[in-house]
């Protein structure tokens, strides 16, 4: 096998790392916590992947996820953009519970994502508290 073929294979491998699906352009809004004013909203893209043997990856566009934070819940299908309301004070973690049909089973995976900045300061609306991208991984 020539070096050229190896380079082509490497390029193909790298292209496989990219996301296969674009989320809908309109974010799904997570409801604010009752009686708490919203300082700002942050958009987080939630994607789901199947991780196979030898580190192979495939994006899932059928994973159903229940995303909960501070007693508020939305149900979405990945990939999705989620609009999260940020309230003053301590931020709640995001609890993500996803299931997807993989082979004969309904696979399930859960993830608790803690806020990157725990406290929201009303004077600082530029800082993010949640990441721009959250990836859910299913095992083969």
């Amino acid at each position: 096998m020539s070096l050229r073929l190896l380079l082509v294979a490497a390029v193909l491998a790298l292209s496989a790392c990219a996301a296969d699906y674009d989320p809908p352009a309109t974010p799904v809004a997570l409801p604010p916590e009752p009686s708490k004013p919203v300082l700002q909203r942050e958009t987080v893209t939630v994607s789901a992947f199947l991780v196979g043997a030898s580190s192979s990856l495939a994006e899932l566009n059928t994973a159903r996820c229940e995303i909960a934070r501070g007693g508020q819940t939305v149900t979405v299908t990945t990939p999705v953009m989620l609009s999260i309301p940020v309230h003053a004070g301590a931020q709640e973690p995001l609890d993500i519970d996803c299931s997807a049909q993989i082979g004969p089973r309904l696979a399930r995976t859960t993830l608790r994502h803690l806020p990157e900045t725990a406290i929201a300061d009303p004077a600082d609306t530029a800082s993010r508290h949640y990441p721009e991208q959250i990836t859910i991984r299913f095992r083969q």
Binding site: L5, S54, Q101, I102, G103, P104
Partner: protein
């Protein structure tokens, strides 16, 4: 014959000497216990189940047992059969779970967990290698590794082994 083929030929010759009992029943189907498991089936592959008695400690002999009742349970399907038997096992894409096979006589019982085989990965591992010295081997290995990582695991095909042997008695 080239002498280097001898180690390969010898086990084949010996395997040909093993005289297994004839499977007298037609291949049987599994029954599905979950609709999603049935809906996800991509095809079927035949698995021959045979039971054996292990009489010597630490050593399996070739005494095949005929007429042993067995059950198998997988994710969303099950089957019951009497050995030797051929069962049409479901094949899946993306993932498959191990099956548990239980065989019992009046006195003995054995449980065996059998993992499915990722046929896609197996085929990639078995594909021909190049001859081009150490560099060629290294490049081929690297390319294979890249190809394995680049493949879509949702398209991985999973089958169960073609032969499953259940050993009752002392097992090594």
């Amino acid at each position: 014959m080239n002498i280097r083929y001898l180690p390969l030929a010898l086990p084949l010759l010996l395997a040909a000497c093993v005289d297994y009992a004839e499977v007298k029943t037609p291949p049987q189907s599994v029954s599905f216990t979950q609709k999603r498991a049935q809906a996800a089936v991509q095809g079927y592959s035949e698995t021959t189940f045979r039971s054996f008695r292990s009489t010597a400690k630490g050593r399996k002999d070739n005494q095949e047992l005929v007429g042993v009742r067995c059950t198998l349970a997988g994710t969303g399907f099950k089957a019951a059969f009497v050995t030797p038997a051929i069962v049409k096992m479901p094949a899946y894409k993306g993932a498959a779970d191990p099956i548990t096979v239980t065989c019992r006589t009046d006195k003995e019982r054995t449980d065996k967990t059998v993992k499915p085989i990722n046929m896609t990965l197996l085929r990639m591992n078995q594909s021909s290698t190049t001859s081009g010295g150490i560099l060629g081997i290294a490049l081929t290995a690297a390319a294979k590794g890249i190809a394995k990582a680049a493949r879509d695991p949702l398209k991985d095909e999973f089958n169960y082994p073609a032969n499953i042997h259940l050993v009752l008695g002392v097992e090594d």
